[in-house]
Subunit: 338 residues, 3 copies
């Protein structure tokens, strides 16, 4: 049930931009250790996180005059990964360099290209309007997962779990699991839409609004390769109150075949000036995604212990089965190209 | 020196019954993750701890109307392991089920049958009269071991270690190691009897009785497949004081080839109404069995580090060598049958 | 870049002598668990740390009448590793013994011989005058490394790292990395000498002396097989102040292919009677060697994650490349002999 292969010719979310504020950041993506650093001109850079000299992590180094210096023996590297200084030595051999990865900032996300550099096209980066922090107030969220990215993708592709995993946070009704979503193919993913009527509001939303009683809820999200969720969702009070629009961007990035990074944020189109609402939305997501983490990591331990598992599919698995097929196609395309 | 095979057509102690009071319990036995739960009618049930849908642990679920509900996507299972409800779906496919294991309660122990279900006969469960909590006051004990069950069985089959490991708790004299026990074959195990005369009382017994000076001590226990110790033992003051009878039930259950569960209790035929004595006996066992755990886990680490160990036998190894042979026979019978 | 083989026909530092004061000490050297104990006559002894009976660690035992008693079932062993007593048994079989290793004390270091015992010659033990605690005040230091010994040796063979790793402790100037040392072959190692002029004093030395301003510094050390550093180094104030001589003995001993022991001390030829200086030197080394440990353990994790690393050499690698060759030769000699 678990695949170890990742598509490589994709943009992956590697970090929140603020994570580079304290200096170089070591982060492993698709099993490859990277160092992410800012060159002092505001340009983020991604290099392989291993000095070509003795293999020390460059992420323990520092940025000096726009170069990244290894703090073991002092070698300096430029933005293209070439070593441009070796202490005590006049010449620097040509082969003294580390791999550089295309890295692009969009909103507060840093996207890295893990495939063949000549195939990287910035136009392929998904559009994430809600990451514009000037327009949409939010607090950035991050979780590290002791589980593979595909199990987190599975989770995000089947919202029937809201009724059970998120009973006291994002769910609040078994009706969510009881309805079937509409699933529509997109060029690089799926669009998933679901509507439930006459249900209680999500427990989370009662924590920062006065909505009570009965509501209609709808969710509409694109789930895009390699694992990016972009969603609008709405709570419509049945008593005629104002509909409450919310937005979320989430990205799942494989760290290794066994672990993953999970980046998330949530914002809304009401009470934009109220920082308490920003904080409440953030706390609500953290609580809910911790619920996901517990069950997904436990699921992964259960699957690892016995390798021979053949899952029994339900109707709720439609989207996740389709998305797994898209991932397989992309992996196959990678092999065909290279 | 270490065997990885376990007899399967045996009743194993899986849990204390009170461990199911807080909801479903996940417990791995012979490498197989089980969920133990109570169906609300007072019947304990054992199922494979992996939902047939996406593999989430059922032990993270809950009992709803006598069914076990998976709290990932809401599937419900009955006592026989059949899925009887899938949210949002009218039909449940036949293959949607998990394995059920025969489970029987005797006193406060839950016994599980890990072999072919048609061979399970409740009459084969060892008789454990001292587990009757109405008659015999005791506090249930449990240790988790980072060592295989067979090393704990070895330990329980050679009481010469009381003189050294339990110098300040259950031992108190090198005379225990200096005497040879009588070992008698039983249909499914061994009876082991030992008598030492004119020795100090066990340090533990001086903590809750007034016995001092010199005593005679005898131990008589049955050690039964797959790893159950049922013992009476007596402290007889040589000054003519009342003999003090004590009883203990202990069970060693493999969790994995590298780890084990250890269930234990101790009671006595004196001061039955005094809860301080119940507590003192429990504390004494916990202290002593921690001494065992330290040496056995260290022994296991030493054995694992270098695999080529050929032990030199002593006369004290008679019982453990015989019991290892019984285990091997039972494993061979399992293979022959299946 | 990493080799798993160790020379065996060598003396290795196994422990500080005071580590045996509290009873038998378990210590793994070259992957072999040893028990080091003092026989009560002041003679330290090294035996294999696994009782020949059931494999329990003898390091959990105790010294009784000059013998080492296993505290699992009471067997006693003499200094040659022969079992001389089995409780409850008149005869002790001849094969009941554990391997003994030649062990020699020099100053406060205990040296163990891991190869063929008949090749052990005490004259081959390096001369370590500064370990004479009567003459040279010092406090013994020890670090456990989650990295192989060879990476620590590499570090000690290239002091250019002082400028970066030890910027605020042992270094204080990039000039150290900017100068080339003189490397001279010795019968069993290398002599390495380096001089830097007109630099600030090492930050550490300003913590227990009044030296400020500009100094000349020189280092001269022998780095001997299997991994022993013996160094004199001097700080010469350029204002004509008294030169400050310091001495250090350091030894790197493989624990396993992945871990190592690091023994160190530092002393000096000034302020000999001032215990605050002894303490300051010790604290300075602990701080600096923690800096080494962080970068070397990180380097090892980086190297382990991707096995295909081909390092790019710099001029600073001269000594470490030569020393690695000496180690390989010694390993080859071991194979040829045995």
């Amino acid at each position: 049930m678990l695949k170890a292969e990742f598509p490589r010719n994709c943009w992956y979310v590697a970090a929140w931009s603020h994570e580079l504020d304290e200096g170089p950041l070591g982060r492993t993506i698709l099993g490859e250790p990277l160092v992410l650093w800012c060159d002092g001109q505001g340009h983020p850079v991604a290099l392989a996180d291993r000095c070509c000299h003795r293999g020390a992590p460059l992420s323990m180094g520092r940025c000096v005059d726009g170069r990244l210096q290894c703090m073991y023996h002092g070698l300096k590297f430029d933005q293209s990964g070439h070593c441009i200084e070796m202490p005590g030595q006049d010449q620097v051999p040509r082969k003294a360099r580390v791999r550089a990865y295309p890295l692009v900032q969009r909103g507060q996300w840093l996207w890295v290209w893990m495939g063949e550099p000549e195939r990287a096209r910035e136009a392929d980066i998904p559009h994430t309007p809600w990451l514009d922090a000037e327009r949409w107030p939010y607090r950035p969220g991050y979780y590290h997962y002791q589980a593979p990215a595909e199990l987190i993708n599975d989770n995000l592709l089947d919202f029937s779990h809201l009724s059970y995993v998120h009973e006291g946070t994002l769910g609040g009704s078994e009706a969510i699991a009881g309805t079937r979503p509409q699933v529509t193919p997109l060029p690089h993913g799926l669009r998933i839409e679901r509507r439930v009527e006459g249900v209680p509001p999500a427990p989370n939303i009662t924590r920062f609004t006065s909505v009570r009683g009965t509501v209609n809820r709808w969710f509409s999200y694109d789930f895009l390769l390699p694992g990016v969720l972009l969603m609008e969702f709405c709570t419509e009070p049945t008593d005629g109150g104002e509909p409450l629009m919310q937005y979320t961007c989430q990205a799942v990035t494989p760290e290794t075949p066994h672990t993953a990074h999970y980046f998330f944020m949530g914002t809304r189109d009401f009470a934009l000036a109220d920082p308490a609402v920003t904080e409440a939305i953030y706390e609500g997501l953290v609580t809910a995604f911790e619920e996901d983490r517990l069950i997904i990591e436990a699921q992964y331990r259960a699957l690892r212990e016995q390798g021979d598992f053949a899952p029994v599919a339900t109707v709720a698995d439609q989207a996740l089965i389709q998305f797994r097929r898209l991932v397989e196609q992309r992996v196959a395309e990678d092999s065909a190209k290279s």
